[in-house]
Structure formats: C-alpha cells, structure tokens
C-alpha cells in the first residue's frame, strides 16, 4: 500500500457558510413565524371567547376562589352587593348571579374575574363619596363581564406562555418573553376600557334613572394619573381626564339627565 501524505481539504467538513448569516436568516424567519402565529391565534381566541355563554363560564370558573392570602383579608359588603344586584337586574344580558368580594389594599381598584366574581378593594369603598359613584365603578366591571373582556384577557395572557413553551420546549423562557409583551397587552385593553365605560353609563341610567355621579370618581383620580410613570402609555386605563371627557360626551349625545345623588349608608 502506498501512503500519500496530504493536508485535509478545508471546506468539506464545515463548508463556507457563515454561521452568523445562517443564524440571522433563520432567526428572522422564526421571529416572523412566531409573531404571525401569535397574532393569528390571538385574533381567533378573541373572537371565539365572545361566544362563551355565561353559564358555561360559571361552570368552568366558579370553583376558582381567591388566593389564600387575599381570602384571609376579605370582608363582606352587603351594601356593595346590593348595588351590584340592582345594576345586574337592570341589565338584561346578565343571567348569572354575581358576587362581590372585598379585599384590603392601599389603592382603589376593581376587577372582574372569570366565574362571576367582582373583586374590589376596601380603599375603593372608602374613596367613593356616593352610592352612584360606587354604582358607576361596579357597572364598569359589569361591562367587562358582559362584553367578555375578562375572558379575553385571561386567554391572551395564557397564549404567550403556551406559545413559548411549544416553541422552546420548556417553560423557563416565558419570563423573558412575557415581560417584553406587556406593552402590547396594555394598548389592547384601553379600547376595552372605553367600551366598558360606555356600557356602565347606560347601565347606571337604567338602574337609577339618571347619571349623576358618573364622572366624579374619575375626576378626583385625575390628579393621580400625572404621577404615574410613562403617563398615557403605561397605564392600562385611559387617562382619567380623557375618560371623563368621553363619558360627558356620551351623556350629551344620549340625552341623559342628572338627578340627586344617593348617599352611602353611614357605616361605609
């Protein structure tokens, strides 16, 4: 056997493709694909969720309770429940009984959760100065519930982690991805907030016969908005001054009247 001494030919075993270029091209394709799927799935889910009937939602979610830490501090507020019941009776679309849960927190907040539970903070109960203001806030949450916004939000929040888990095969990348998408989630929900405001105004009028107290709470909170970092874009609600303006416009357009405010019961 004759042995010929030769140097190895370079480009056979690793080619001359630049790994950097391959990474950029493939990475771009992957990104486009992922974004496309996210928006497509998001749209489908948003549409589909509107068809979830209230009794199905109740069956699925009514077993869900509050986080044990929150549940420890919760109080009952029969007055708030009564206001909610009055609003619900005035709204033909609502077929479920909704319950109110009060948790203690240092900021006023209200939230509609899947399953027909509306959570409000005790600070909110302290801040409202008339029953009508409380009714407006509750009607706003009722609006989210009726328009199925709360389901949309939950499903959208679940979509991104689900997608990243499928893409990357493990759940640990979700933190990275979900934080960078918060901005998109916020801008979507501002349109929902305006729709809920509109619904709230109509409901308030139906339940009480007039719309006094509709904007006072938001007007008082306008001063807080300017303190928030990022102002308009980082807040998940439209700025209070804009809300007030929008509500006032609707009052004029729909010809609603202002009546006498109903006072809160002395214990509040």
């Amino acid at each position: 056997m004759k042995i010929i001494k030769k140097l190895p030919r370079e480009q056979i075993n690793h080619g001359d493709d630049s790994p950097g270029r391959q990474f950029l091209i493939l990475g771009a394709c992957l990104l486009v694909l992922a974004v496309g799927v996210y928006y497509a799935a998001g749209t489908v889910i948003s549409r589909a969720v509107l068809y979830v009937p209230q009794n199905l939602e109740h069956r699925l979610f009514s077993r869900f309770g509050l986080h044990p830490e929150l549940a420890r501090n919760n109080q009952q507020s029969p007055h708030a429940q009564a206001v909610l019941d009055r609003l619900a009776k005035a709204t033909p679309e609502i077929s479920l009984s909704l319950r109110i849960v009060v948790i203690s927190d240092s900021i006023s907040n209200a939230m509609a959760l899947p399953g027909g539970m509306i959570v409000i903070t005790d600070k909110l109960l302290q801040d409202v100065q008339s029953e009508n203001e409380l009714a407006m806030v509750l009607a706003h949450e009722l609006g989210h519930f009726t328009l199925r916004h709360h389901l949309r939000r939950v499903s959208r929040l679940l979509l991104l982690p689900a997608l990243t888990t499928v893409l990357f095969g493990d759940a640990s990348t979700t933190g990275l991805v979900s934080r960078s998408s918060t901005l998109f989630e916020l801008s979507y929900s501002r349109a929902e907030e305006s729709a809920a405001d509109s619904f709230a105004l109509d409901t308030l009028n139906r339940a009480y016969g007039h719309v006094a107290g509709a904007t006072e709470f938001f007007q008082r909170n306008a001063s807080l908005d300017s303190q928030a970092l990022g102002g308009k874009y980082s807040s998940s609600h439209p700025l209070s001054t804009e809300r007030v303006r929008a509500i006032d416009l609707q009052i004029r357009q729909k010809g609603y009247k202002c009546g006498n405010l109903t006072a809160l019961p002395p214990s509040q």
Binding site: F23, L167, R179
Partner: protein, 151 residues
C-alpha cells in the same frame, strides 16, 4: 427588558469572541498539520511488509473544546427548521483535527500510526435549566509503529 438585553449581549459576545478564537485555532491547526505531515496516520492495520517492526506503542490525543453561547442559540434556531448546524460543524472539525494532531505529537520518533480511531462525546454542565452549556471532547487513539532502520 433587562433579560433580553443580557441575552443579546451574551449572544453577540459569543459570536465575536468565538469567531476570533476559532479563526486563531484553525490557523494553529493548519500550521501543525503541515509540520506533522511527514508522520502518516492510517485507519487500517497494514504495515509495510518489507520492513521489520522494532517498537510499537499506543498513542492518544484528547481535545476538549467548549461551546459558546452564540453556538447554542444558533443550534436551537437551526434545529427548529432541521437545517445543518454550521456553528457546530466547525466546532467538531476543530476538536477532531486537534486531537489527531496531539496524537501525532505523542508519536514523535515513530514512523507511522496505524489503526487510528476517533471517539467524540459531549460533556454537559447544566448551569441552569435553560442554558445547557456543553463542551465537545474528541479522543483519537492509534498504534505508533517504528520500523527497524534499513541497513
């Protein structure tokens, strides 16, 4: 946002530094391959029938090369589409050639290395769940043979 920035920085760093290190290593490999060209290495056990074997011994060359962060990311993107992972190809080529060169370096003073075999394995160190940083170990072994000098 901070996590994303760290990720991008690590990838960029891996790419830049990794490319420089790789180029330098390939240059060193080519240089030594030219220098050690005179010592043949074959995979069969065929000896020169006209000569007598004076001495033979096992020679071994080991090379361990680490994967940089850019390679890991590039590989996971390529594996999503089922492409050739060019980033890993260069890595393995380096490891293989380096281990063969080290084996040859052990066989200085011998005439030929027969029955050369190569073994490759991945060493894993799981720093955290997501970033499994592997290194590649290549192990070349053969029998170095010295013929009796021709009279």
């Amino acid at each position: 946002m901070g996590e994303l920035l760290i990720f991008v920085t690590l990838v960029a760093l891996g790419f830049v530094v990794g490319s420089i290190v790789e180029r330098k290593h390939f240059a060193s490999i080519r240089e030594r391959e030219s220098a050690l060209l005179e010592l043949p290495t074959i995979a069969t056990d065929e000896l020169d029938p006209a000569r007598v074997v004076e001495e033979s011994t096992l020679v071994v060359g080991v090379a361990v090369i680490a994967v940089d962060y850019f390679k890991v990311v590039a590989a996971s993107v390529a594996s999503f589409f089922g492409c050739r992972i060019t980033a890993y190809e260069t890595l393995l080529d380096r490891a293989r050639r380096e281990s063969i060169l080290r084996m040859k370096a052990q066989a200085q003073g011998y005439d030929i290395i027969i029955n050369t075999r190569l073994e490759t394995s991945a060493l894993g160190s799981e720093r955290n769940e997501r970033n499994k940083i592997y290194s590649v170990e290549c192990f070349a072994y053969g029998t170095a043979v010295r013929y009796a000098s021709l009279r």
